[in-house]
């Protein structure tokens, strides 16, 4: 704040000195411009993160004031032995492993197909993207109806053909996969749009040239389109892995982590522990572990991709 005041009092004749101080002053200006962002960043990201780490060393309770008694590493040692937490972590990882491939491959396929359509393309773009704008609460209501046994949309169909439907939401071996299906339908539009944007960046000339060289449509797709979309695919995969590791809403709203906790993800375990068991300190330790896991996964993936890209 002192910089503009200083410049205002500088004598106009001291041109040389003004040129010298211009550089740092310019940096201050840039700093000022990003300040609003930095304030929010510190306030809502760095601050809570530090607070989380602090809480994880205390027996903080939701219903008692203050931090509570000092726990040292007790929360972390308890956490490493807590099989409920690790089973929830496994559900999150399983969900990521199962949901990421279809959410990377299917939108790619649909984007390539839709990009070929000459007339009425807008309709398909809209159709694929529409579910993505719905809030998770609406998704939960729609799919609870679809999965309802006997008279739900799918259940009714199974009834019609005289087959008992699998317990979409009641069978512990099926429920998590039912949620994967919901998630694919719900979020496919986002990845689809990213691919479509990537497709439109590929120069038409390349297709003309390859056609002149006698490449078939199939060869064009395999040898031209998909390699040219490499960067987009990387981006989509990283974003998808991170999004899948953060799964919570749809599982909580449709199943509440059931049946018998077979679908409870890590974030729901953290939520349950902090807000139903009132153990905020313990839950903070768990959320810090999850944060580290997501960070490591993202870094490993990015490192792999960098190496791959520099190798090309």
């Amino acid at each position: 704040m002192s910089a503009p005041t200083a410049s205002a009092t500088l004598p106009r004749t001291a041109a040389a000195s003004q040129a010298k101080v211009a550089r740092p002053r310019r940096n201050w200006g840039n700093f000022g411009l990003v300040t609003p962002f930095l304030v929010f960043y510190v306030l809502f990201l760095v601050g809570p993160l530090i607070y989380d780490v602090v809480l994880s060393f205390f027996n903080t309770s939701l219903v008692k004031g203050g931090l509570g008694s000092f726990a040292g590493f007790a929360n972390y040692t308890e956490l490493f032995r807590d099989h409920q937490f690790w089973s929830a972590m496994w559900h999150t990882i399983l969900f990521t492993l199962v949901s990421t491939p279809p959410l990377v491959i299917l939108p790619l396929f649909f984007a390539i197909v839709v990009n070929r359509i000459k007339h009425g393309q807008w309709f398909f773009r809209l159709a694929f993207f529409l579910p993505y704008i719905l809030p998770s609460a609406a998704i939960a209501l729609v799919w609870l109806f679809i999965y309802e046994p006997g008279y739900g949309l799918i259940g009714g169909f199974f009834n019609l053909i005289g087959v008992t439907d699998p317990g979409w939401l009641s069978d512990p071996n099926v429920a998590l996969y039912s949620i994967v299906l919901v998630t694919v339908w719900w979020t496919i539009g986002f990845n689809f749009v990213l691919y479509l944007a990537g497709l439109q960046e590929i120069s038409r000339d390349l297709y003309e040239a390859s056609a002149l060289d006698g490449a078939s449509r199939w060869q064009q797709t395999w040898r031209l389109t998909i390699p040219m979309l490499g960067r987009t695919t990387t981006l989509v995969t990283v974003l998808q892995i991170i999004a899948s590791l953060k799964v919570f809403d749809q599982i909580y709203l449709i199943l509440q982590g059931g049946p018998n906790y077979s679908s409870r993800p890590a974030i729901e375990w953290i939520y349950d522990t902090a807000f139903t068991s009132q153990r905020v300190g313990y839950a903070s330790a768990a959320s810090f572990i999850l944060f580290i896991v997501i960070l490591i996964v993202s870094f490993v993936w990015l490192a792999l991709v960098r190496r791959q890209e520099s190798g090309v």
Partner: protein
């Protein structure tokens, strides 16, 4: 080219003061943002609906009543508003269970609680010990037209913690048995007056359900999906009938009796494996199946009564049948609490108690939603006795089985969730009675050994 570049360069140079201005503006903007944070209390209270100021004419009331209950409560609030036009009653409805209780705890902790709120009686063991509720003296209660003898004795005695009255009961809401009169008549279960005679043993229940199955009806519905509370209510009703206890010493001791529990679990398992109970539904789905008129019995809390009345379903209700000995049914009570404030405000407390008394006076409206009024002047009135089928099961208020006291028990609590989930698996036929018992006892031991957060 050189000329142009130089000119551009000059522009930048002469723009330095402009940049300076921008710097200042940006910094000022940031300052405003941070300054705004000092005012978050006002922003926060705007969002949460609690009163930030000390305007005496407002009364902030939080509850978790939705659906039919919500409609009845709004009608009762409107009556209060008409009688007290000088009080601005601000009512906030939040979602049942953890979402509500989280916000209530945090609001009390942060020193800006609502003036009055609804709390389940079974939650007194979480809110009582850390001193989050304002004790209400009997003198103060009497000054506002309420005496201990005006309330259901069981609910009123449970409203105390450490000898202090911490909440004022509004109702008792038990787990009950709905039955479709048309379907049950077809199965030959009704007596000459068209009512279902009390079913008095597990075998008699199996008989009745098999008769219902024979005529092609869904014998009984009891939901499990996304709803661990209902399986817990079913188990705890039956287990209490058998005389079982789950916890002792405020939750530090586990006294779940293996023999009694196994008897109950085996019965539930038989219902599932014999195809006598339909559990593959969530709460909404269960209601819809019974509403469609294809089911004989429906085990659920009494709060769905208005749903079925609205569609003119031929049905009635009765206390949950005593299949394992004495009469017992899992139940809870909605109560009014005065959350603890940082500084006492006798005038506000008085306004709140008057409001509570006014709402209690309209217990008949409340009873239409299915709940048994805790306010005896209404419960003993002729008008309530005429209210059918709601008054059929009013006796349950005297033998209601409340969740066992512990810091981890009560409505929407860890205990209900951790026991309800394995019970749901049992009801779906996916787990054996032994596996269910093992998981239940394991979870209880884990819960009882956790550091006490209250």
């Amino acid at each position: 080219m050189g000329n142009k570049a130089r000119m551009a360069h000059n522009d930048v140079r002469s723009g330095l003061s402009r940049r300076g201005f921008l710097t200042g503006a940006a910094a000022l903007g940031a300052g405003l943002v941070t300054a705004g944070c000092a005012g978050t209390y006002d922003v926060g209270s705007g969002i949460t609906g609690s009163s930030g100021g000390d305007n005496q004419s407002t009364l902030v009331y939080w509850n978790l009543l939705t659906g039919g209950d919500g409609t009845h409560m709004v009608a009762m609030e409107d009556t209060y508003r008409k009688a007290h036009p000088n009080i601005d009653l601000q009512s906030t409805i939040l979602a049942w269970g953890a979402p509500y209780y989280t916000k209530l705890s945090l609001a009390i902790r942060s020193g800006s609680p609502p003036d009055v709120a609804i709390m389940h009686l079974s939650r007194i063991h979480q809110y009582g010990p850390p001193g989050m509720l304002t004790p209400i003296s009997l003198d103060l209660l009497a000054q506002h037209g309420m005496e201990p003898k005006d309330f259901t004795p069981l609910a009123f005695s449970k409203a105390h913690y450490n000898g202090q009255l911490l909440c004022i009961p509004l109702d008792t809401h038990p787990f009950v048995q709905y039955y479709n009169t048309k379907v049950c008549k077809k199965a030959g279960l009704l007596d000459s007056s068209g009512t279902l005679p009390p079913i008095k043993s597990a075998d008699a229940m199996l008989d009745a359900l098999r008769k219902l199955k024979k005529i092609g009806a869904t014998p009984v519905i009891c939901d499990t999906i996304n709803d661990p509370a209902t399986p817990w209510r079913l188990f705890y009703s039956l287990y209490s009938q058998a005389g079982g206890q789950v916890l002792a010493d405020n939750g530090k001791d586990i006294v779940l009796n293996e023999a009694l529990a196994t008897k109950v679990l085996t019965f539930i398992h038989q219902l599932a494996t014999e195809g006598l109970m339909s559990s593959n539904v969530d709460a909404g789905g269960g209601t819809a199946v019974f509403q469609a008129g294809d089911a004989g019995l429906y085990w659920e809390g009494e709060w769905n009564v208005t749903v079925f009345q609205a569609v003119n379903l031929p049905f009635s209700m009765q206390p949950f049948p005593a299949l394992f000995g004495k009469a017992a049914a899992q139940a809870d009570s909605h109560t009014f609490i005065l959350p603890k404030r940082t500084t006492a405000d006798p005038e506000k407390t008085s306004t709140a108690l008057t409001m509570i008394r006014t709402l209690l006076g309209q217990s008949l409206t409340w009873a239409e939603g299915g709940h048994i009024p805790a306010w005896l002047p209404v419960r003993d009135s002729a008008a309530y006795k005429k209210l059918k089928p709601q008054s059929n099961y009013q006796e349950v208020a005297s033998y209601a089985a409340y969740d066992p006291p512990a810091w981890y028990s009560g409505s929407g609590s860890d205990m209900e969730n951790y026991l309800g989930e394995p019970l749901a698996s049992l009801m779906l036929g996916a787990a054996s009675p032994q596996a269910t018992y093992d998981q239940m006892i394991g979870s209880l031991h884990t819960l009882s050994k956790e550091p006490v957060p209250v």
